[in-house]
Amino acid sequence: MSGEHASRRLIDDYARGDATMAADTVWALEAHLESCAPCRSHLAASVATEAPDVAALLDTVRAGLEPQLDAAARAPSRRHLTRRVSAWLTPAMAPWLAVIVVVTLMALLLNAVASPTFFGDTSPLLLIAPVLPLCGVAASWSRGLDPAHELTTSAARAGLPLLLRRTTAVLVVVLPGLLVGGWLTGTMAAAQWLLPSLAFTSTALAMGSVVGVTRAATGLLVAWGVLVVVPASATGRVPHALQRVLQPDQLPLWGLLLALGIGAVIARRNAYSTL
C-alpha cells in the first residue's frame, strides 16, 4: 500500500479474487475499503475491467431486481403528520371532537331560536361553556372510546405528561370554538366563561387522581347538568345564584378554584400512573 491508499495493483488482484493474496493483506485491504470511498470507486472500476464475469452477474441481478423494485410503491408520507397529531390528541379523537362540535352547534341553535324569557338573560352557550372541555377530557381517557386504552395505560408515557398533553389538545380545540361562538352571538364575554372552564378542567384532573379522570370529568358534567339544566327546565329560569357566579365580578373565585386544582394535580403527580 502506498501512502494512505491501497495500490491499484492490489485492488485489481482483489477484484479478480486472486487466491494467492496473503490473508492479512486481504483483511487489511477490506478494512481500508470499508472506510475509504476513493478506493472503493477504484475497486468498482477494476471490477468492470478485471472481472467481467462478476460485472455480468451484477448486471443480471440488477435486471431481475429492477422490475420488482419499481412495483413496490413507496408508502405515502403521511407518517410524520400522524405521529405529531397522535402525540397530542388521542388517536381516538373522532368521538369527542364530534361531541364538542355537536354540543356547540346545539347551543348556538338554542341561542338563535329560544326566547330570551326561557333562559333569562343568560345565553345557553354561556351555560355549557364552562363544562365543554370536560367532554373532551373525559373522552380522551375513556376505556370504552379508546381501543388501545389497555396498551396506553401500561406505557411509560402514561400518567401526568400524557394527561396534560391530551388536555392541552382538548383546550386548543374547544376554546377557540367557544371564542368564535361567543363573538358570533355577542352574548358572552370571554371573561365570563374562560376562567370557569379552565377551573373545571383543573378540578377534573385533580379529582381524577383519586377516582379516575373519566369518572371525575363525567361526575362534574352531571353535577353541572343537575344544577343548571334541571332548574332551568323546571322553573324556566336559571337559578339566581348561578347567574351570579358567572358574572365577571366572580373571577377571583374561579381563579382560586383553578389554582387549587393545579396545586392538587402537582401534589398528586405520581398518582396518575394508573388511570
Partner: protein
C-alpha cells in the same frame, strides 16, 4: 447496525430475579381476590403461565404490567418495588406487554401503530425507525408494514401486537394468550421467537394450551384459583401425571393430575 440499547440495558443487574412476588394478592372488584397469596420468582427464560380459565392469569399479567396495583403483599419488578403509588416511568420503559384482547387504531398502518407504541414507551426518538423495523421483521410482517391495521387478518393483528410488545427491547415481556388466532405454521414460528426471546429476556406467556408450553417454555408456572400449584420444568409437569389421569400427552396428564390434587375441577367444564 448496532441494536438499540440504553444505559439501563448495559448496567449490571442489581436484582436476583426479574420478577419476584411474595404473598401477592390482587383484588378484582370489591371482594374477589383474583391473585390470592402468590409467591413467585422468575428470572431470564420463557415461563409458561398455565392454568384453567378464570384462574387469575390475566389479572396476574396485568399486575406485572403495572396496570393493576397489588392489594397486599410484595411485588418487585427488575429490582423496583411496585406499591400502591409511585412513578414507574423508568420501569415501564423496560416492560413489554401484549394484552389478551388488545385494541388498535384501525386507520393506523402497522408501522404507525408500532411507532406510536414506541413513542408511548419513550424509545429514544433517533432509535424509533430502526427499532420499529426490527420488531416488524421479527414477527414476519415486514411486507405488510405499510398496510392499514384494518386490512390485516386476525393472526397478523396478533403479530403486530407482539411487535409492539418487543419494540422497546424489554427486559420483562408479558404476553397474555399470544397464540390465540395464529394458524399452526404461525404458531410454530411464534414458538421459535419465544425461545429466541427467552435467551436474554424474562418472558411470561400466559396460555391454556399445554402444547405451547411443552414446545416453547423453559419453565412452567401452574396457576389455579389465584394460587401457585407448581413451578418447575415441563418435565416436572409431565412426571406428575400417570396414565390414570385424563389427557392425550404426558404434559396434559400431569396438568390434570396437579389440578385435581390441588382441589380444582380440571376436567369438568
Amino acid at each position: 447496525m448496532t441494536p438499540a440499547s440504553s444505559a439501563a440495558d448495559t448496567a449490571p443487574k442489581t436484582y436476583p430475579w426479574e420478577i419476584r412476588a411474595s404473598g401477592l394478592r390482587v383484588a378484582v372488584g370489591r371482594k374477589k381476590m383474583a391473585v390470592d397469596g402468590l409467591d413467585l420468582s422468575l428470572g431470564i427464560g420463557t415461563h409458561g403461565l398455565l392454568g384453567p380459565n378464570g384462574a387469575g392469569k390475566t389479572t396476574l399479567i396485568r399486575t406485572l404490567a403495572t396496570v393493576l396495583r397489588p392489594t397486599e403483599g410484595e411485588l418487585e419488578l427488575l429490582g423496583t418495588s411496585v406499591g400502591r403509588i409511585g412513578d414507574y416511568r423508568a420501569l415501564r420503559r423496560r416492560i413489554g406487554y401484549l394484552p389478551q384482547d388488545f385494541g388498535y387504531y384501525k386507520r393506523f398502518t402497522v408501522r404507525e401503530f408500532v411507532e406510536y407504541m414506541a413513542w408511548l414507551k419513550e424509545v429514544p426518538k433517533a432509535d424509533v425507525p430502526a427499532a420499529v423495523q426490527r420488531a416488524v421483521e421479527r414477527v414476519g410482517l415486514a411486507d405488510r408494514a405499510d398496510h392499514r391495521m384494518k386490512t390485516l387478518s386476525g393472526g397478523m393483528v396478533r403479530r403486530a401486537g407482539i411487535a409492539q410488545a418487543i419494540v422497546n427491547a424489554p427486559a420483562v415481556l408479558l404476553l397474555d394468550e399470544p397464540t390465540a388466532g395464529l394458524d399452526p405454521a404461525q404458531r410454530l414460528r411464534f414458538r421459535e421467537l419465544l425461545q429466541e426471546l427467552g435467551r436474554d429476556t424474562c418472558v411470561v406467556v400466559s396460555t391454556h394450551l399445554v402444547e405451547d408450553v411443552a414446545a416453547a417454555c423453559s419453565d412452567v408456572v401452574l396457576f389455579a384459583d389465584g394460587r401457585l400449584v407448581i413451578q418447575g420444568t415441563p418435565d416436572d409437569l409431565a412426571a406428575a401425571g400417570g396414565i390414570e389421569y385424563p389427557g392425550d400427552s404426558p404434559l396434559e396428564r400431569g396438568y390434570s393430575a396437579l389440578l385435581r390434587n390441588s382441589g380444582q375441577q380440571g376436567g369438568t367444564w
